[in-house]
């Protein structure tokens, strides 16, 4: 499709071979690791049009976490891109997007869940794998963070394109990401990064073909 809006593209000078940590996350799996203050990390959309459903927590006190509403309100814009400061529910800057070759990311649409899939698609689809199930498994398998379902909140969908229309509609467009597109963030605090690499099979946004992403971290 033809993208008519202007999006901001900023490439990174960081070289993958110099990364201190690299991990490929298959679709339907999760990533849950601490990125230290001052480190930069990248999510790479290896094959294109993938969605990385992401939550952030203060590693010293996970009650402080990424807040979509505070981020949207304080930057006065619904989309995330280079220069966006990702704010916590305590109004502190957790991370800043410092490079972005996709240009626009969603933080309104939330994550897929088995339950919301019943509403969006069909009650019979209730047992198809979904992002919130990956998060539930992540918090269960990582007891060291002491999280429960109450910690699972309103996320970022990196690489997703969910335009808001001027008359108050919400549309789900084809992804504007492509193979090799990435988004990069610098951490302002020690941050737990929790990503569900979206397993959704019912949404055309990923061409009904969920694919791996890679996480890279530089000191």
């Amino acid at each position: 499709m033809l993208l008519e809006v202007v999006v901001m593209i900023k490439e990174s000078a960081l070289i993958a071979d110099n990364a201190s940590y690299r991990e490929t996350v298959p679709a339907g799996d999760y990533f849950m690791k601490v990125v230290k203050k001052g480190q930069t990390f990248r999510i790479l959309d290896i094959e294109g049009n993938q969605a990385a459903d992401t939550l952030f927590y203060n590693a010293d006190n996970p009650v402080e976490r990424y807040s979509a509403v505070d981020t949207i309100r304080e930057q006065g814009n619904v989309y995330l891109s280079t220069g966006t400061k990702l704010l916590s529910n305590e109004s502190n800057v957790m991370l800043e997007i410092v490079a972005d070759t996709c240009g626009r990311h969603d933080t309104i649409g939330g994550a897929c869940a088995t339950e919301s899939n019943t509403v969006r698609y069909a009650l019979e689809k209730k047992c198809m794998h979904a992002c919130r199930d990956s998060w539930m498994l992540a918090i269960a398998e990582n007891e060291q963070f002491g999280m429960t379902k109450a910690d699972i909140t309103h996320n970022i969908n990196f690489f997703m394109n969910v335009p808001v229309t001027e008359d108050g509609g919400l549309t789900f467009e084809d992804g504007i990401s492509a193979p090799g597109k990435y988004v990069e963030m610098k951490a302002y605090m020690d941050t737990i990064v929790l990503i569900s690499n979206c397993p959704q099979l019912n949404n055309p946004c990923n061409g009904y073909n969920p694919t791996p992403v890679e996480v890279l971290v530089w000191d």
């Binding site: 809006v5 202007v6 996970p62 009650v63 976490r65 807040s67 979509a68 509403v69 505070d70 949207i72 309100r73 006065g76 814009n77 619904v78 989309y79 529910n89 109004s91 626009r104 309104i108 649409g109 939330g110 994550a111 869940a113 088995t114 339950e115 919301s116 899939n117 019943t118 509403v119 969006r120 069909a122 009650l123 209730k126 047992c127 919130r132 199930d133 429960t148 379902k149 109450a150 910690d151 909140t153 309103h154 996320n155 969910v162 808001v164 229309t165 001027e166 008359d167 108050g168 509609g169 919400l170 549309t171 789900f172």
Partner: protein, 258 residues
């Protein structure tokens, strides 16, 4: 499950209770399935911050992203349903004269109010202080053993915020006029938390103080021609999830995980 109220159910439309919430205050109440909470903006320009929880399982709560994406909408108005994270409908917007209510801008904070309108503490101003929405919700949450991590993205009823093609936010002034109202018909028993603190993007020079009337009204039974149920196919499925929930058996989505 027997409902003790069945023997004495009032006529639909009967106002069971009404009261006024003063400006800049907070409250909470449990709404029963089959009742309507009607909120009236007495003076125009009010804002009502609101959150919902399932009183039988406080981990089930209002989910703004699910509500918006399930109905492909950014604004909320008559016909829309307000969803939990479990695929169920807490309540349906059965009437609305304001036309736009938003759910992505969150609350005022203590610091935000001080920066924008100046600090007015309780010691000096008593109940004319500049209360903020964030602390208001914290107080109401704590009454039910809940805290910061339980605070979801809230509704801001009577307040409209749009976005242009670049995504820039636009707070729409004069969205709600004196006498405008919104009616929420509860489709399951729901714990409602609310405050009357101003919208965080309200550009008013002075801290806005707007009272809100509320009424609890007996609803008519929901039939298959119901406006909200038929507003979108997704809502039909949401109502079905509620129906399954009220069988008292398995929650939707629980088939292979329980």
């Amino acid at each position: 499950m027997t409902k003790p109220s069945d023997l004495t159910t009032p006529e639909p439309g009967t106002v069971l209770y009404e009261d006024t919430l003063a400006p800049a205050c907070h409250w909470s109440l449990r709404m029963r399935k089959g009742t309507i909470l009607r909120l009236i903006d007495n003076e125009g320009g009010a804002n009502v911050g609101m959150l919902f929880y399932n009183p039988d399982n406080l981990l089930e709560r209002y989910n703004a992203p699910d509500t918006l994406k399930c109905q492909h909408t950014f604004k909320l108005t008559k016909g829309n349903c307000l969803y939990s994270d479990m695929g169920r409908i807490f309540c349906s917007i059965v009437d609305d004269t304001a036309g736009w209510h938003e759910t992505v801008c969150g609350n005022t904070t203590k610091q935000g109010v001080a920066d924008k309108w100046g600090e007015r503490n309780y010691q000096e101003y008593r109940n004319e202080w500049n209360q903020n929405g964030y602390n208001s919700f914290l107080v109401e949450l704590a009454k039910y053993g809940l805290g910061k991590k339980d605070m979801a993205a809230n509704l801001n009823l009577f307040s409209a915020v749009g976005a242009d093609e670049n995504g820039d936010l636009e707070y729409k002034q004069n969205n709600s006029k004196a006498g405008d109202s919104i009616s929420l018909r509860f489709e399951m028993d729901t714990l409602v938390l609310l405050h009357t603190c101003p919208h965080p993007l309200n550009p008013a020079a002075e801290y806005p103080r707007k009272p809100v009337n509320y009424q609890i009204i007996q609803a008519a039974d929901v039939d298959e021609n119901d406006y909200c149920m038929n507003f979108r196919d997704e809502n039909k499925r949401g109502f079905k999830n509620n129906e399954i929930f009220h069988l008292g058996g398995h929650a939707a989505g629980g088939c292979c995980h329980d």
